[in-house]
């Protein structure tokens, strides 16, 4: 059975390694500051005992005032999981570091989020529209999208 790790413990570990990165933690979810994403991802993947080597999925939600990017992490060896969340307050030009260097599986999913939400992933090797065509106006999954 997959163990849902207590976020508070992990948050403490994260805080020890990267001071000031977490905002809050509850249940199996940790919310971190957006500038720490890459460092936190690398830490979670490479720390013994955590070994989050598998990025289960990566998606985003538009909460009208801010975007939330969700990283669902799983460790196939220990069979435990954790949810990492990032809040992006800049609606005009949302930006976030790409985690393709850590988990290559993030490649298409980050492109998808770029395509449908307009979140720019810096450091992504090939960031362009994936489902819609070049020249499509707007980002459909934003709540203020009008056809």
């Amino acid at each position: 059975m997959t163990v849902e790790l207590q976020a508070a413990e992990i948050a403490a570990k994260l805080e020890a390694a990267l001071p000031g990165c977490t905002i809050e933690s509850s249940g199996n979810t940790i919310v971190i500051k957006d500038e720490f994403v890459l460092k936190a991802a690398t830490f979670l993947k490479n720390t013994a005992g955590l070994d989050f080597n598998y990025l289960n999925f990566l998606t985003a939600t538009d909460y009208q005032t801010y975007f939330e990017v969700i990283y669902d992490l799983v460790s196939l060896e220990h069979n435990h999981k954790l949810v990492l969340k990032v809040k992006l307050n800049n609606r005009e030009k949302p930006e976030l570091a790409s985690v393709t260097g850590v988990w290559k599986g993030a490649d298409f999913q980050e492109r998808e989020i770029f395509d449908l939400f307009g979140i720019n992933f810096t450091g992504h090797p090939n960031l362009k529209r994936i489902f819609l065509w070049e020249g499509f106006q707007g980002y459909p999954l934003r709540k203020d999208f009008k056809q």
Partner: protein, 367 residues
């Protein structure tokens, strides 16, 4: 004398016999050898995630049928599991058993198609595919008996299933399950002892264990690379913890392993169906839920092991009748991520075999 050579760009798709739908690959070819490839998606992007936000929870069920249209039942199940997790609904036992039976039948059907289209991509002139279609038709008949549809069932509902099985279903299922091993044996003899098929599939498109994990692949692709990971065992949903079955894993991660995994999984599915038929209890098939579901505010991720890998639905509710956000974790799209690495440096023919072995469904890739 130095000859001047040039690479050239070839478009495979969106209308191409072996792209399994409307997928497109831009190959940079050096003669027969692929130098680079750029996959292009989106020719079937219907915006399901956006449309789902405009309809109620139970109305969204119909979209799930059209995701992976080779495994509609499992899509239904994944969505139902997610909503039930979100709203805290307890599903009656009989419904759970029926779901398991349908999902495993769907897995057999989907794997049959996967193997069939793989052989077609390798160049067998339809024959193995049509033989596998024969078995698939029998499965579709069973579904037809239960819910009156052949492809898009909308059978599993939130909190149970839409209707109980008719009387003649169980005998028909038993008859089918009893004869299936013989046919699978037949296909194995036809395919696994065929020298040409072996030459074309062995040591082609090797995906290492580390790469398979790092690329977030799932299902048969991940297991063929030697990772023993199956949601049915890792996080048993429904009533899977009561069944006795194995997870086949490959050793090399080549096309042949991906093909063998599918055959072995079909055998395991037969075992599960047999056990489920024996244990099938009487009782309710639908939990008591309100006509219009209003799950509490929050979010949930429900996942199951689909035929193509972990299929999950991420739901966010704001307390209203419609989901605030619905995200699908598409195994087909994620299994395509390593495509570029696998395909670079092989010949066109092998590229098609690799692509076929990944076994994608465009409805799920593009959504």
């Amino acid at each position: 004398m130095a000859l001047k050579t040039e690479t050239f760009l070839v478009n495979a798709g969106p209308q191409h016999p072996s792209t399994h739908g409307v997928f497109r690959m831009r190959f940079i070819l050096d003669g027969e050898v692929i130098q680079d490839v750029e996959p292009v998606f989106g020719y079937l992007h219907r915006g399901i995630e956006k449309l789902a936000e405009g309809l109620t929870y139970s109305q969204d069920m119909v979209f799930t049928d059209r995701l992976d249209y080779l495994a509609s039942m499992t899509n239904n199940q994944a969505y139902a599991v997610a909503v039930e997790k979100l709203a805290g609904i307890q599903v009656p036992e009989r419904a759970e058993y029926l779901r398991v039976i349908m999902a495993e039948l769907m897995r057999i059907s989907s794997h049959l198609m996967g193997v069939g289209f793989l052989t077609n991509d390798i160049g067998a002139f339809l024959t193995p595919l049509l033989y596998m279609y024969r078995e698939r038709e029998k499965i579709l008949d069973l579904f037809d008996m239960v819910c009156g549809q052949r492809l898009t069932y909308n059978y599993m509902r939130i909190g149970g299933v839409s209707q109980d099985i008719p009387e003649e279903f169980l005998p028909a299922l038993k008859k089918f399950i009893d004869t299936l091993p013989r046919f699978i044996q037949e296909y194995e003899q036809l395919l696994a002892t065929n020298e040409i098929l072996l030459v074309r599939t062995k040591n082609v498109g090797i995906l290492t264990k580390e790469a398979a994990i790092n690329y977030s692949t799932a299902g048969p692709v991940l297991r063929a690379s030697g990772v023993k990971w199956d949601i049915r065992k890792a996080e048993p949903y429904s009533v899977y913890s009561r069944f006795n079955f194995e997870i086949p894993t490959g050793s090399k991660g080549d096309v042949y392993d991906r093909y063998r995994i599918k055959i072995e999984e079909m055998k395991q599915s037969i075992g599960i169906i047999k056990q489920a038929m024996e244990q099938l209890p009487q009782g309710e098939i639908q939990a008591k839920i309100p006509k219009v579901l209003r799950p509490p505010k929050g979010e949930a991720y429900g996942r199951i092991e689909g035929p193509k890998g972990e299929l999950g639905f991420y739901l966010v509710s704001d307390g209203a009748t419609n989901p605030y956000r619905l995200h699908i974790r598409p195994p087909s799209l994620l299994n395509l991520t390593p495509l570029r690495e696998l395909v670079i440096g092989v010949k066109i023919a092998d590229a098609m075999a690799i692509f076929g072995s990944i076994d994608i469904c465009m409805g799920e890739v593009d959504r």
